[in-house]
């Protein structure tokens, strides 16, 4: 705890920085709207020349990708193409891996998240993440949801926390199923429920961006449908980036799609356009199932 405070006091507060850069961010967004498709919403996340190395091996090659606000962007591509690696760059989860090295800039609302003075813990608090396999903590359902709010001190009182837990569960569509067993273990839920619990947990921290790394790959079709509906609802308030192996899922839930291949973005654009009229031959091959 002591260490945390020191880091917080030394690093400039992210919020302050935000105020300073708000103007820039708006300018940037305005600048983009002039030369890009007018239907596109303002950009939340911009990536410039992202290279990622695992030791000697390069996993991403000069990724340039803009992710619009309050919409769902899906990243598709064959296994090992770097889409998960890119996703993990956005909340700097790759820092956890010793041998991983990232270069280039990723800006969220115009702020470089790889700025050395940025507090990575604070960054991650603003970006929720949902993983491939549901990973509820070995705690009660209530404590799973309350974990983030407690750490960040988001609530003043017990009642407020109860309210936040309830609203998060409601948003994740899980409230009806678990309201009578909030003290039961999170690991006792079914796979689909666990994944929605993880989404609720991410929402409870009040993030702006939610990253999802193949959130439905371990679920059956019914649970998948529930999660997809949920993603569609969440889109109004959150910027969502989802990695998926299911082309149908990408087509159903996302507004924009980026196709990754061998560590490069081959094509990105409106989902409908990518799926109906892909410009690149490789994209066409992939979405029609000829390879991958």
């Amino acid at each position: 705890m002591v260490a945390t405070h020191i880091v917080e006091s030394e690093a400039p507060m992210l919020d302050k920085k935000l105020d300073v850069n708000d103007q820039d961010a708006n300018n940037l967004a305005e600048a983009e709207t002039t030369n890009v498709d007018p239907a596109k919403k303002s950009t939340k996340i911009t990536s410039e020349d992202i290279d990622v190395y695992y030791g000697e091996k390069q996993a991403l090659f000069g990724i340039n990708l803009d992710i619009p606000e309050n919409s769902v962007t899906s990243l598709i591509g064959p296994s090992g193409c770097g889409k998960s690696t890119y996703l993990r760059c956005i909340n700097r989860m790759n820092d956890v891996i010793d041998i991983c090295r990232v270069s280039g800039t990723i800006k969220i609302d115009g702020n470089d998240i790889y700025d050395p003075s940025l507090d990575v813990v604070e960054l991650r608090a603003r970006i929720g993440m949902v993983f491939q396999k549901p990973n509820p903590f070995p705690k009660s359902i209530y404590d799973n949801i309350a974990y983030g709010p407690r750490i960040h001190g988001l609530t003043e009182s017990k009642d407020e926390l109860d309210e936040l837990v309830e609203s998060s569960l409601v948003k994740a569509g899980l409230w009806k199923e678990v309201k009578d067993r909030l003290a039961g273990p999170g690991t006792g839920l079914s796979g689909g429920q666990q994944q929605r619990l993880c989404i609720a947990r991410a929402i409870a921290t009040k993030p702006e961006v939610i990253l999802m790394d193949e959130p439905c790959s371990a679920l059956d079709p019914i649970a998948t449908a529930t999660i997809e509906e949920l993603i569609d609802e969440l889109r109004t308030n959150y910027t969502i980036v989802i990695v998926t192996h299911s082309m149908q899922q990408a087509a159903r839930v996302s507004q924009r799609t980026a196709f990754f291949h061998l560590g490069k973005v081959i094509e990105e654009g409106e989902t409908t356009q990518i799926f109906t009229n892909p410009q690149n031959e490789k994209t066409q091959d992939y979405i029609t199932g000829r390879f991958g």
């Binding site: 945390t4 989860m93 956890v96 991650r124 993983f131 396999k133 903590f137 974990y147 960040h152 990253l211």
Partner: protein
């Protein structure tokens, strides 16, 4: 000087080497060659059978009657196993049985008067017979004839002076550097001669039977090799039985040890009432038969002071080792980079390779005096052998044990939980204290319990560092003793085996065994329960 030494050394080395080479050439190489030949015979026959069918390669489907059921190497392995296994089993059984059987036969030839002697005396005679028998090899023809002559002399029948005095025979052996415990009576010599001939006969019989059985089994197995012989399944069955045998040996040994201790414990409790042992608070064994003149006062065998000492020292050891070991494990598994980890972890585990007697030295020679002197400086009276010294050194011994177990357990917590927590914006230490450690807690409790059972059973450190005073006190700077120390004391003393002061060691051993067994069972139960969670 150096040159002379090196030549001498070279001589020694070549002597040792030639010993190994000869041993290898006589005992290991021939069986390997024979087994190899049998293997290739089996393989070759299977291949030939296949060829005779006109099928060049074993390409038929599994159910094809014209193809081999098993691939040729399995036929070879099957032939080798079936040829030698029964003979080896019989050979081993014979070797185990021959000792007792021969001894019984020899004993039955001894005069009836020997059978009436007390047990200790009979054992002595047996051992003299054994020594003489071993010594026979060193005698030359003439000496052997002399010995045979002495053996035939029978006091009762001849009533004349012995042609060869037992004294002379003893002298004869002494010249060959063989020391006999007493002058060998004629019946001892004759028994030794008989024993030798029985042994020779048994050895010849054993080897002959081995060869005959092997040949018979080989012929039967060889003729049984057919296209559809299920050699592969046969080999599988034999392998399974080997593994079963290994498990049985492990289990039977455990029970054997348990029962031998149990029986001696029962003997102890027939002399000393269990209430004296389990609820007594004074440890004061006396020489009940010797020193007190057989008045039946064996002293007091209070178990509680020893149990207290054991638990107290173990507690100090855990107090030292659990925090250090656990924090080291957390650092190694969560913070250390892979480079540092690859160096630091083995370095820490070197501690685990140090024999406990060396820790005992450390406690006795370095740490004990250091604590005593340090205590004197601040005005504390600290004994050189104390609870503190023993517990502290035992704690150091347990650090690598705890840290490496905890490290494994912490690493077994899925990475996804860590990422989930970090993804919510918690710091590393928040992740560890709020997610990783709670998830690993049952396993960590198990690890601490395993460490506790090691601390309770630890012997050498406490023998050297804890002292031998069986007392009930709380002072960590004073000496205390443990169950293990008293077991060592009671068994290494010059006591008679059947006396309670020796037998009490078994009662103590059994108590210790039950305590650590319960701890281990509970620890394993917890660890296993924990494992199921993430499978």
């Amino acid at each position: 000087m150096l040159k002379v030494f090196s030549v001498e050394l070279r001589g020694k080395v070549s002597e040792v080497l030639s010993l190994y080479v000869t041993g290898f050439l006589t005992y290991i190489l021939p069986p390997v060659i024979v087994i190899g030949i049998v293997y290739f015979i089996g393989k070759w026959k299977a291949q030939r059978l296949l060829k005779n069918q006109g099928v060049a390669k074993n390409t038929g489907t599994a159910a094809n009657a014209l193809s081999l059921h098993s691939r040729p190497p399995y036929h070879g392995a099957f032939l080798a196993l079936v040829s030698f296994l029964p003979a080896v089993i019989v050979f081993c059984a014979w070797s185990i049985a021959e000792g007792p059987v021969i001894k019984g036969m020899v004993n039955s030839t001894l005069p009836a008067s020997v059978g009436e002697l007390e047990a200790g005396k009979q054992d002595l005679i047996s051992s003299v017979i054994g020594t003489v028998e071993n010594g026979l090899k060193k005698l030359d023809q003439k000496e052997l004839a002399l010995l045979e002559q002495a053996a035939q002399y029978d006091k009762e029948v001849n009533k004349a002076a012995a042609p060869v005095e037992p004294e002379a025979i003893r002298k004869l052996f002494e010249d060959k550097n063989i020391i006999l415990a007493e002058n060998p009576e004629p019946y001892v010599l004759s028994a030794a001669l008989k024993s030798r001939s029985f042994t020779q006969f048994s050895t010849y019989g054993k080897y002959t039977l081995f060869v005959l059985m092997s040949i018979a089994a080989f012929m039967i197995a060889y003729s049984s090799i057919k296209l559809r012989l299920r050699a592969r399944n046969g080999v599988e069955t034999i392998v399974k039985w080997f593994l079963i045998l290994a498990s049985i040996i492990a289990i039977v040994t455990t029970f054997g040890i348990l029962f031998s201790v149990l029986f001696e414990t029962i003997n102890f409790f027939q002399i000393i009432p269990p209430s004296n042992f389990f609820f007594g608070t004074v440890w004061d064994p006396r020489f009940g038969w010797g020193a007190t003149g057989g008045d039946g006062n064996f002293g007091q065998y209070g178990f509680l002071p020893l149990l207290w000492g054991t638990l107290y020292i173990s507690f100090v050891a855990l107090f030292v080792s659990v925090p250090v070991g656990l924090f080291a494990a957390i650092y190694m598994s969560e913070y250390a980079g892979s480079k540092l980890r690859s160096i630091a972890k083995p370095a820490l585990e070197i501690l685990a390779g140090i024999p406990t007697i060396v820790y005992g030295f450390f406690a006795l020679v370095t740490l004990g005096p250091f604590f005593r002197d340090a205590g004197a400086v601040v005005g504390l009276e600290i004994n050189a052998s104390s609870v503190l010294t023993a517990g502290f050194v035992m704690g150091i011994m347990l650090i690598p044990f705890i840290s490496s177990l905890s490290d494994d357990i912490i690493n077994a917590v899925p990475q996804s939980l860590r990422e989930g927590s970090l993804g919510l914006g918690s710091t590393k230490s928040e992740t560890i204290t709020k997610v990783v450690l709670p998830a690993a807690l049952p396993g960590l409790v198990g690890a601490v319990m395993l460490a506790a059972s090691r601390a309770i059973g630890e012997t050498m450190i406490v023998v050297l560092a804890a002292g031998i005073a069986a007392k009930l006190h709380m002072n960590p700077f004073d000496a205390l003793t443990t169950i293990t120390v008293k077991i060592v004391n009671q068994l290494t003393g010059d006591h008679e085996f059947g006396s309670p002061e020796t037998l009490v060691a078994f009662a103590l051993g059994l108590s210790l065994f039950i305590i650590t067994l319960m701890l281990n069972v509970y620890a394993l139960y917890i660890v296993r329960k924990y494992r199921e969670q993430y499978d």
